[in-house]
């Protein structure tokens, strides 16, 4: 333990340097003057905590090494299918009995499932660190928003187009950028996400600027509107058609089911991709790019396919997001959002679809459940991330690639 002493001391000093300006001194207004109010207590406690943790580091590491997270029980192919069927059935049925706010949160969780699975194609399967994923999400959302605003298109007309637009953006950005290696790619994509957001903010004449576009209609069900009154005289509403009293819950459930369907499609497609030649090529490329080239595989094209496909799902997600919120503005597409989606992928276990789904649900539902701790959300989030990286860097459920057997 004595060997750890210098290390712990240095760490504590660094903690002090970082904490002191942030927590140590508070600027308070006293009448006409501003005064610095010291808060040394909190700083000292922080330094002490860092010191102790660093001192006990080897011992803690050994402790953590002994903790085992449960692994998923191995199911054979047939049981696997049944398990999935049961989960899907449950997911379809419960909202009819669940509370309205629970269903609403679940819808949000499903959006993140979808985004997580989409980004998983890029980061998990193809190993490309994309920090600007939210840019494509924004492209999808604004495709619907703008087409509705300028041309009056409906959700169902815009949905495929939103995916296509986002994919196009992914393609155009990826083409020059995917020659870059890891860190550079991360930086360029980060910049791209910000550029999209700034464009949306500043092209005020087109996009409505910081206020965005509001009044975006929700999706219809085979042409039936889920609102109290039809938006046009010839329109028909869901409750009139089925001769029911109007119930706003219908809309909530409908949105939930739609999100579920979109998430399922994303899951099925990405699951298929993994088993296709392109999925194998992604894996091969991650392992050895030079060997790939020596066999005639074009790395840029293979990466581009992952990038484009991931962007497409973000686009679908964006269009749905716009329809659910009823408004889009640049605020929803900040870097934090990209970081959140990325942490869904990393926490879940890069490449692992089940892991990504669990992580997406956990990261959206938990903060809602423990609302009282909302202030500490980011803190807890960071803490969990650090713990995960120490303890289980491969994620909750590490990826298991499906093999082709002979």
């Amino acid at each position: 333990m004595l060997a750890q002493l210098p290390r712990a001391l240095i760490a504590a000093v660094f903690a002090f340097v970082i904490l002191a300006p942030i927590f140590g001194l508070k600027l308070v207004r006293q009448g006409m003057h501003s005064a610095l109010q010291p808060h040394w207590n909190i700083v000292l406690w922080g330094c002490a905590a860092v010191f102790v943790v660093q001192l006990l580091h080897p011992w803690l590491a050994r402790l953590f090494a002994r903790v085992r997270l449960p692994s998923v029980p191995a199911l054979d192919e047939e049981h696997h299918l049944w398990a999935w069927a049961a989960v899907v059935l449950l997911a379809v049925v419960w909202p009819f009995f669940g509370g309205r706010s629970a269903v609403d949160i679940a819808t949000l969780a499903l959006i993140y499932v979808m985004l997580g699975l989409g980004l998983n194609i890029v980061v998990g399967f193809a190993g490309l660190l994309d920090l600007g994923f939210v840019g494509f999400y924004a492209v999808g959302a604004y495709t619907y928003g703008l087409l509705y605003y300028w041309a009056g298109w409906s959700f169902w007309e815009c949905l495929p187009l939103a995916g296509a637009m986002a994919a196009l953006f992914g393609f155009l950005l990826g083409f020059p950028v995917l020659r870059l290696r890891g860190d550079y790619l991360a930086i360029v994509t980060l910049g791209f996400g910000e550029i999209i957001r700034l464009l949306l903010t500043n092209l005020t004449d087109w996009t409505g600027g910081p206020d965005g576009i509001s009044g975006i209609p929700s999706p219809t069900l085979f042409g039936l509107e889920m609102t109290r009154r039809a938006s046009s005289p010839e329109g028909q509403t869901f409750h009139e058609f089925f001769d029911m009293p109007f119930n706003p819950d219908h809309m909530v459930i409908y949105l939930y089911l739609l999100a579920l369907a979109l998430a399922l499609v994303t899951l099925l497609v990405s699951n298929r991709l993994l088993r296709m030649p392109i999925g194998r090529a992604w894996e091969a490329l991650r392992e050895d790019e030079i060997a790939c080239r020596s066999l005639g595989l074009n790395p840029t094209r293979i990466k581009l396919s992952a990038f484009t496909l991931g962007a497409m799902f973000a686009g679908f997600g964006g269009a749905f997001f716009a329809a659910r919120q009823g408004l889009v503005n640049p605020e929803s597409f900040t870097f934090i959002e990209s970081a959140l989606i990325l942490s869904v992928v990393v926490l879940g276990g890069m490449g692992s679809q089940v892991g990504v789904i669990l992580a997406a649900v956990a990261l959206t539902v938990l903060p809602e459940v423990v609302r009282e701790f909302a202030e500490y959300r980011m803190l807890a989030f960071g803490f969990v991330m650090v713990l995960m990286m120490v303890w289980r860097p491969q994620g909750l459920l590490p990826m298991k690639r499906p093999q082709v057997d002979l």
Binding site: V269, R272, L273, M276, P277, I278, R280, A281, E283, A284, E287, D288, I290, A291, C292, R293, S294, L295, G296, L297, N298, P299, S305, L309, R401, Q403, V404, D405, L406
Partner: protein, 265 residues
């Protein structure tokens, strides 16, 4: 003048022609004026002491390095400076001095990835699992089986490639090349690390591949017995420069070659 000249019979263009190849790394001339040709169905070897520039020649031919000078022609077509994956698609594939398998993929999957270019399948047909897609996938697996049998690796098909014995990894790497149906197979020290029995098997295998698949082989190898056994012609390099190109017997008795290997003293 009136002599019925045999010189008028057109000389067939060689499969691969390397002209005055130059590769400079900063101040170092790793390859300096190397020229040779590889004829169809020939086993052509490059030998030379460590650091002679043999692997660098491979890297230039394969498009992994852009040569500082010179030309590379494949069946008369200039392929100098083409990106490596395009060169590979023209039928020029290689193994690496250190084995470069996809270690986390299974043996079978290594062979499937290599067929990526042959299996012409859109994304959509794969997502919808169309008949054509399934047929193509099945054909790729059948083709892979053939090569697994050829190399005696069938029983390891579902193993991760990284877990194979070293000799098996070497063979898998050659199979992975051959499954792309190349015109010229380039092997960089394929016998390195093999035991004598495996070396004999390798020699037989190279010869068999060359005959059955009618391809040319370009070989870098330090094992002289193997080289002398299977080569039709040999290029000897030293310090990036070509010393001689000749038949094995002639190379063996060439004084410059002996000097290069034994040193000046």
């Amino acid at each position: 003048m009136t002599e019925p000249s045999t010189a008028l019979v057109p000389v067939p263009t060689p499969l691969l022609e390397v002209r005055a190849l130059l590769m400079r790394f900063g101040g170092l001339l790793a390859v300096d004026g190397v020229a040779f040709d590889v004829r169809a169905n020939e086993v052509f070897s490059i030998i030379g002491p460590n650091g002679a520039g043999k692997t660098t020649v491979f890297n230039c031919i394969g498009g992994f390095y852009k040569p500082s000078g010179g030309q590379i022609l494949l069946a008369g077509e200039n392929i100098t400076g083409l990106p490596s994956h395009r060169v590979a698609r023209k039928g020029l594939v290689r193994t690496f001095q250190g084995v470069r398998l996809f270690k986390n993929l299974t043996v079978l999957e290594n062979l499937l990835v290599a067929q990526h270019m042959q299996v012409k399948n859109g994304l959509l047909s794969g997502l919808l699992i169309t008949r054509a897609y399934r047929r193509a996938e099945q054909a790729a697996i059948e083709h892979a089986k053939q090569w697994l049998d050829f190399m005696g690796l069938r029983e390891y098909a579902n193993r991760e490639a990284g877990n194979l014995a070293y000799g098996h990894q070497r063979r898998l790497e050659i199979a992975r090349c051959m499954i792309t149906r190349p015109r010229l197979l380039m092997l960089d020290e394929p016998a390195a690390g093999l035991n004598p029995q495996e070396k004999r098997d390798l020699a037989l295998m190279i010869d068999r591949i060359r005959r059955e698949y009618n391809i040319a082989v370009l070989l870098i190898e330090h094992d002289m017995r193997l080289v002398m056994d299977i080569s039709d012609r040999i290029l000897v390099m030293e310090h990036g420069r070509p010393i001689t190109v000749d038949r094995p017997e002639a190379v063996q008795s060439d004084e410059r070659v002996i000097k290069a290997y034994l040193g000046e003293e």
